[in-house]
Amino acid sequence: MMSDYKVEMINDGMQEFYVHFHGPSDSPYHGGVWRIRVELPDAYPYKSPSIGFVNKIYHPNVDEMSGSVCLDVINQTWSPMFDLVNVFEVFLPQLLLYPNPSDPLNGEAAALMMRDRTAYEQRVKEYCEKYAKPEDVGAAPEEKSSDEEELSEDEYDSSDEAVAGQADP
C-alpha cells in the first residue's frame, strides 16, 4: 500500500499527487529527498503513470530542467499488472542505483558518468546538497503553505496549475 509513503494530494483529486522519495542508501543520492509528481492518466492502469522530479536532480536519465524521467520500465514496459507502489519501491531506486548513461536525457551527466565516475558522484552530491535537502521538499514551491497537512485541501487550488506544468515538458 502507498500508506507507507508521504503523499500530498492535489485538491482531493485522485489523478495527481506528490510523493516524497528518499535516495537509496547505497547510492550517491543517499540523504536526498525529492518530491515526485505523479500523474495518473485517464487510461491508468493501462497506461503508465507519468513521473517527474519536482526539485532538481543530477542524473543521466532525468531531464535537469523539467524533471522528466526517461525510464524505460515506466514508459515502455509498463503493464497494468504493476502496482503504483512498485514505482517507488523498485523502479525509482533502481534508476538512482543504476543510471543508464546509454539512453541519456541529461547528456552532460551521462558523459560525465562515463568519463569520470568520481567527478559525477561529486556533482550528484552537490545537487543533493543544493536542491534535495529534507527541508526543500517539506515546503511547497510557494512560501505561503507551510503546514503540509493543509496541502490536501482548498488552499492548494491556486498553486496546482503552476506545478502541473512541470512534469511534462
Partner: protein, 1018 residues
C-alpha cells in the same frame, strides 16, 4: 521533396487523404482509371454504387430494367415515395452524382448483351439468374484482358458473394500492411545463419517471408539487395537459409526489411465453381456447416424463380416446401460435397425472406462487394476467393411469427415487415435512440435507421449529437455531406439529409460533445427515456464515457469502429454482456523521450520531434509573448509566483523571440530560418558527437553508439539542395506569419530565395565542453543554476520589459496552430522538412510530404466500405435489442478485415461475476444505501458485509482515504455534506441520490471490486 514539386493533379489529396492512407497513390490511380458496371439498382446496388463513387473510380454505369417499387424503400436510400414507377437506374443518377462530381455516371435500361461488358474492368450483378450469370461470367473470364466478375445477392437475412477475376489475377499487396522491419544486433557465421535483432520491438516476420538487408557492417555480403528467406521466426531473432560461414564477421549496424511478394490467383469460372465450390470463406465458427447449405439454398431459389416466375411468398408453407424440394434435388444430383442432411428450419427462413432486400444486409454487402471491386481494379488486398455466404437468422424475433403478421400493408417498410413482422416494425418506429457522433459511422447509421423506420413512429425520437463541423477530407466517406456544407455543423446537416431519406424520421440534432460537461443537456431524464445508444465515435475516451453512462442507466450500447479496411463491432447489453471498458487494447507505445530528443532511429521519431519543435517555435513561444504583452504586470507576478525552472524557460524563450531573434523584415525571417537550420542540423549534432564521440564507450565498456542508436552527422547547408531550400522557405514564411510580416511572392522562386539565403552570415560553431545535450544549450549551465531562481526571474522580467519598449504600440504575435489538412499553409511543409533533415542527420530514409502528414497528423486511415459494413452489422443487432428478450448467444460481436478478407463473429463475453462470501454481483449491479448515512455508517454497512473500505470517492474527488489521518475527522459527517463540500456536488432539489465509488479489501487484504453505491439522502 523537390522545391515546387506538385502532386500529380489526378488525386485530390485534401478530399481523399483518409483513403490515401489506406490505399496509397498507386492504387488510387488505378481506381481512377477503372470503369465499373453495377447491374440491379435495389438496395444492394445502391450501396455498392455509393461506396465506389465515394472511392473515386473513373466511371460507374448503372443497369436496371425494372422500375422503383414501394418495396424497394426498405433498403434503398436513393429512392423516395415520389420515385415509385420510375426506372431504377434513371432514378438513381442524380443523387449518386452529388456524391462525387469527378466520377462519370451513366445508365443502361435495356437488356444487357455480353458484348457490352467489354467496356468495363469490373462488372457487378446483384439481381441476375444463374443461367445468365454463367453466360456473362464465361465471357468475362475468357475476355482479353479478363473482366472481373462479381455476383452478389442479399435475400432477407441471407447474403452471398461470388468473385471471378479471371484465370490469372495478380495481387500486388495481399494484406495492406507496411513491410515489417528489424534492427540487427548480431549475425552468426553459420549454416543456417542466426540473425538477432534488438529487443526494442518484437519482430513480425513469419517463416517463408522474404527479407533484404542493408547497412550491415562486417558481413557486407548480405547488403547485396537479394531477397532471402526467413525460417524459425522468433520474437527477436530468426534464421536465414544461407551458409554464412565464410562471410565477413558481423561488426555492427544493419536493418532487415520484409519484401512483399505479389501473389497470382487462378479463379474458376462460375459454371465450374458452382459444382465444385472449394473452400468457403467462413464468418462464424458456430456456423461452420452453413455455407454448403446456403450454396444449395441460393441455387434452389434461382430454380424456384425460373419455374414460377416469382419469389416465394413470406409465410407460405407451400412455397417453402417447394424451395426445400428444389434444394434436395440439387443436393442429390451433386457430385462434390453432397450434404448428408438438410436443415429445413433454416430453409424455411430463407424462403420466407427471399424477396426482401433489408437495409442492414445491403449496407454490409455493399461494403464487402465495394471492396472486392476496388481489389479487382487495383490488385490491392487479397480478393475473396471465391464464394462467401452469410446469414443473420438470430436477428429474427425470438417467438415464431404468425404469417398474417408478415403481410404487406402498403408501406415503405413492407419488405422489412415480410421478414420481421409488423409487431417488431412498430417497436422499431417507437424506439428512442441516441446516436453519439455524426462522422463516417454516424452518417451511415442515420441512413440505416431512416430506412429501417427506427424512430419514425409517433412515439419515436432519435437524438444525434456531434460538436464537429464538416471538412473537405470528410466528404470521401461521410456521404450525407456535400461540398457546400463545408464549415457547417455535422449533426445538423446529417439530420436533415436523413430526414430527406425518410420524411417520417423524428430526429433532433445537437452540437454538444458527450462528456461530463454536458450532463445538464444529457440529463437523467434524457438517459432514462432511451431504448438504446449507438456509438459512432472516433476516440476511446468518448467511448469510455458513453460506456459508463450506459452502464449507469442500464442501457444497451451498440459499439463499432473502423481502421482502414478493418472494422469491429461490440454489443453491450445490460446484465448479459461485459461493458465496453471491461476489456481494452493496450495503449499505443510512445517512443521514449531520450530517443526522440537525441537518438532517433526511425522517421516516426523524427516526425514526433518535428511536431514538438513546430509547436514550440510557432505556437507556444508566440503565445507566451502575447501573454506578456496583453498584461505585463499580471504576467510578471504569475512568473514570480511560479518561480520555477519552467517559468524561467518560458521567459527566456519570450526574450529570445523579442530580442535576439526578433524579425522586422522578411529578410530577418530568412536569416532566422537559415540559422535555425544551422542550429538544428549542424551545431547540435556537432555538440552531441563531441560529447559522445563515435568511439565512446559506456561504463561497462560497450560502445555507446550501438543499435538501435544511430550515429548522426552534421549537414552542410547548400542552396543547391532543394530539400534544404524548402526548409528555409517554409520556416521563413511561417516565421513571418507569427510576426505579421507580409510574405513576398519572390520567396516561392528558388533562385531568388537562394540569393536571399546566401546573404546570411553564419557564425562558426565550436562545441563546448560540459554542456547539456537534450535541452537547449542556452538553458542552464551549473553557474546560473546555482543562483537563486527568484533573482534570475526578476532579471529576466526586467529584460523582457526592456524589449517591450522597442516594440510598436499594440504589437502582438500570431501563434500558429498546427493544421494538417490545409495543403497550402506550409505547416506540413515545415514539419516534413524538419523531420527529413533530421532523418538525413541520422541516415534514416526520408518520407514524402503525404506520408509525413499521415504520421505527424496522426491521420486515421478510413474508407467508406469498412464503415458501411460495420454499421450494417450493428443494425442487424439493433433488431435484436429493440425486440428484446434475446439470449446472449443470439448476439454477435464482429472483427473483420476486408483486406484479407477475414470475418470473425463471436458471441459477446458475459460480465465478470464477483463472488464474496455468499454474495455475487457484476458490473451491472448497484448497491443502494438509504437514510442519509454518515461516513461511519457507510463504512460499518460495508464492514457488516465483510468488506473493509479504504477509499471512497465521488467523481474524481476523494472523500475518504484511510491513508490520511485527517480524513478520520470526517467520520461523523453526512456523506451528502462531504460530497457537496469536497466533491463540489451540485444536488438540485429533484435529486434524491448520488453515487460513490468505494475501494474495498476483504479480511485477507485482497482487493474486491464492489458495485457503485447509490446514497439516498432525501
Amino acid at each position: 521533396m523537390a522545391l515546387g514539386e506538385g502532386n500529380p493533379p489526378d488525386i485530390d489529396e485534401d478530399l481523399h487523404s483518409r483513403q490515401l492512407a489506406v490505399y496509397g497513390r498507386e492504387t488510387m490511380r488505378r481506381l481512377f482509371a477503372s470503369n465499373v458496371l453495377i447491374s440491379g439498382m435495389q438496395g444492394l446496388g445502391a450501396e455498392i454504387a455509393k461506396n465506389l463513387i465515394l472511392a473515386g473510380v473513373k466511371s460507374v454505369t448503372l443497369h436496371d430494367e425494372g422500375s422503383v417499387e414501394l418495396w424497394d424503400l426498405s433498403s434503398n436510400f436513393i429512392f423516395t415515395e415520389d420515385d415509385v414507377g420510375k426506372n431504377r437506374a434513371l432514378a438513381s443518377v442524380q443523387k449518386l452524382q452529388e456524391l462525387n462530381n469527378s466520377v462519370v455516371i451513366s445508365t443502361l435500361t435495356t437488356e444487357l448483351t455480353k458484348e457490352q461488358l467489354s467496356d468495363f474492368q469490373a462488372v457487378v450483378f446483384t439481381n441476375i439468374s444463374i443461367e445468365k450469370a454463367i453466360e456473362f461470367d464465361d465471357y468475362c473470364h475468357n475476355h482479353q484482358p479478363p473482366i472481373s466478375f462479381i455476383k452478389s445477392e442479399v435475400r432477407g437475412l441471407f447474403g452471398s458473394v461470388f468473385c471471378d477475376f479471371g484465370p490469372e489475377f495478380t495481387v500486388f499487396d495481399v494484406d495492406g500492411e507496411d513491410p515489417h522491419t528489424g534492427i540487427i544486433a548480431s549475425i552468426s557465421n553459420d549454416n543456417p545463419a542466426l540473425v538477432a535483432c534488438v529487443d526494442d520491438e518484437r519482430l513480425e516476420f513469419q517463416d517463408g517471408d522474404l527479407v533484404v538487408f542493408s547497412e550491415v557492417q562486417g558481413m557486407t555480403e548480405l547488403n547485396d539487395g537479394k531477397p532471402r528467406k526467413v525460417k524459425n521466426a522468433r520474437p527477436y531473432s530468426f534464421s536465414l537459409d544461407e551458409d554464412t560461414t565464410n562471410y565477413g564477421t558481423y561488426e555492427k549496424g544493419g536493418i532487415v526489411t520484409q519484401v512483399k511478394q505479389p501473389k497470382v490467383l487462378n479463379f474458376k469460372p462460375l459454371k465450374e465453381a458452382l459444382k465444385d465450390p472449394g473452400d468457403f470463406l467462413q464468418s462464424d465458427f458456430s456456423k461452420f456447416d452453413r455455407s454448403p447449405l446456403l450454396h444449395l439454398a441460393f441455387q434452389a431459389l434461382d430454380k424456384f424463380i425460373m419455374e414460377l416466375g416469382r419469389f416465394p411468398v413470406a409465410g407460405s408453407e407451400e412455397d417453402a416446401q417447394k424451395l426445400i424440394s428444389f434444394a434436395c434435388n440439387i443436393n442429390d444430383s451433386s457430385t462434390v460435397g453432397k450434404l448428408e442432411k438438410i436443415d429445413q428450419r433454416l430453409l424455411h427462413h430463407f424462403a420466407f425472406g427471399a424477396r426482401a432486400v433489408l437495409n442492414p444486409m445491403a449496407a454490409m454487402f455493399g461494403g464487402v462487394v465495394g471492396q472486392e471491386v476496388v481489389k479487382a481494379c487495383s490488385g490491392k488486398f487479397h480478393p475473396l476467393f471465391q464464394f462467401f455466404y452469410f446469414d443473420s437468422v438470430e436477428s429474427l424475433p425470438t417467438e415464431p411469427l404468425d404469417p398474417s403478421d408478415l403481410k404487406p400493408i402498403n408501406s415503405r417498410y413492407d419488405a422489412q415487415i415480410s421478414v420481421f413482422g409488423a409487431k417488431l416494425q412498430k417497436k422499431l418506429e417507437d424506439a428512442k435512440v441516441f446516436i453519439v457522433g455524426s462522422g463516417a459511422l454516424g452518417c451511415e447509421f442515420l441512413k440505416n435507421v431512416a430506412l429501417m423506420g427506427v424512430c419514425c413512429g409517433n412515439q419515436g425520437k432519435l437524438t444525434i449529437t456531434d460538436d464537429d463541423v464538416i471538412e473537405k477530407s470528410n466528404l470521401s466517406r461521410q456521404f450525407l455531406f456535400r461540398d457546400w456544407n463545408i464549415g457547417q455543423a455535422k449533426s445538423t446537416v446529417a439530420a436533415s439529409a436523413a430526414a430527406s431519406i425518410n420524411r417520417h424520421l423524428h430526429i433532433e440534432a445537437l452540437q454538444n460533445r458527450a462528456s461530463p460537461e454536458t450532463e445538464n443537456v444529457f440529463d437523467d431524464t434524457f438517459w432514462e427515456n432511451l431504448s438504446v445508444v449507438i456509438n459512432a465515435l472516433d476516440n476511446v475516451n468518448a467511448r469510455l464515457y458513453i460506456d459508463q453512462r450506459c452502464l449507469y442507466f442500464q442501457k444497451p450500447l451498440l459499439e463499432s469502429g473502423t481502421l482502414g479496411a478493418k472494422c469491429n463491432t461490440q454489443m453491450v447489453i445490460p446484465h448479459l454482456t461485459e461493458n465496453y471498458g471491461a476489456s481494452r487494447d493496450p495503449p499505443e507505445k510512445q517512443a521514449p523521450m531520450c530517443t526522440v530528443h537525441s537518438f532517433p532511429h526511425n522517421i516516426d521519431h523524427c516526425l514526433t520531434w518535428a511536431r514538438s519543435e513546430f509547436e514550440g517555435l510557432l505556437e507556444k513561444t508566440p503565445a507566451e509573448v502575447n501573454a506578456f504583452l496583453v498584461n505585463p504586470i499580471e504576467y510578471a507576478s504569475a512568473m514570480k509566483t511560479a518561480g520555477d525552472a519552467q517559468a524561467r524557460d518560458n521567459l527566456e524563450r519570450a526574450i529570445e523571440c523579442l530580442d535576439k531573434e526578433r524579425c522586422e523584415t522578411f529578410q530577418d525571417c530568412i536569416t532566422w530560418a537559415r540559422l535555425k537550420f544551422e542550429d538544428y542540423f549542424a551545431n547540435r549534432v556537432k555538440q552531441l558527437t563531441f560529447t559522445f564521440p563515435e568511439d565512446a564507450a559506456t561504463s561497462n565498456g560497450a560502445p555507446f553508439w550501438s543499435a538501435p542508436k544511430r550515429f548522426p552527422r552534421p549537414l552542410q547547408f547548400s542552396i543547391d539542395d532543394p530539400g534544404q531550400l524548402h526548409f528555409v522557405m517554409a520556416a521563413s514564411i511561417l516565421r513571418a506569419e507569427t510576426f505579421g510580416i507580409p510574405i513576398p511572392d519572390w520567396v516561392k522562386s528558388p533562385m531568388k530565395l537562394a540569393d536571399a539565403v546566401s546573404k546570411v552570415i553564419v557564425p562558426d560553431f565550436l562545441p563546448k565542453k560540459d554542456v547539456k545535450i537534450v535541452t537547449d544549450e542556452k538553458a542552464t549551465s551549473l553557474s546560473t543554476a546555482s543562483v537563486d531562481d527568484a533573482a534570475v526571474i526578476n532579471e529576466l522580467i526586467m529584460k523582457l520589459e526592456k524589449c517591450q519598449k522597442k516594440l510598436p504600440p499594440g504589437f502582438r504575435m500570431n501563434p500558429i496552430q498546427f493544421e494538417k489538412d490545409d495543403d497550402t499553409n506550409y505547416h506540413m511543409d515545415l514539419i516534413s522538412a524538419l523531420a527529413n533533415m533530421r532523418a538525413r542527420n541520422y541516415s534514416i530514409p526520408e518520407v514524402d510530404k503525404l506520408k509525413a502528414k499521415f504520421i505527424a497528423g496522426r491521420i486515421i486511415p478510413a474508407i467508406a466500405t469498412s464503415t458501411a459494413m460495420a454499421t450494417g452489422l450493428v443494425c442487424l443487432e439493433l433488431y435484436k435489442v429493440l425486440h428484446g428478450g434475446h439470449k446472449v448467444e443470439d448476439y454477435k460481436n464482429t472483427f473483420a478485415n476486408l483486406a484479407l478478407p477475414l470475418f470473425s463473429m463471436a458471441e459477446p463475453v458475459p460480465p465478470k461475476v464477483i463472488k464474496h462470501q455468499d454474495m455475487s454481483w457484476t458490473v451491472w449491479d448497484r448497491w443502494i444505501l438509504g437514510d442519509n448515512p454518515t461516513l461511519r455508517e457507510l463504512l460499518q454497512w460495508l464492514r457488516d458485509k465483510g468488506l473493509n473500505a479504504y477509499s471512497i470517492s465521488y467523481g474524481s474527488c476523494l472523500l475518504y482515504n484511510s491513508m490520511f489521518p485527517r480524513h478520520k475527522e470526517r467520520m461523523d459527517r453526512k456523506l451528502v455534506d462531504l460530497a457537496k463540500e469536497i466533491g463540489k456536488a451540485e444536488l438540485p432539489t429533484y435529486r434524491r441520490h448520488f453515487d460513490v465509488v468505494v475501494a474495498c479489501e476483504d479480511d485477507e487484504d485482497n482487493d474486491i471490486d464492489i458495485p457503485q453505491i447509490s446514497i439516498y439522502f432525501r
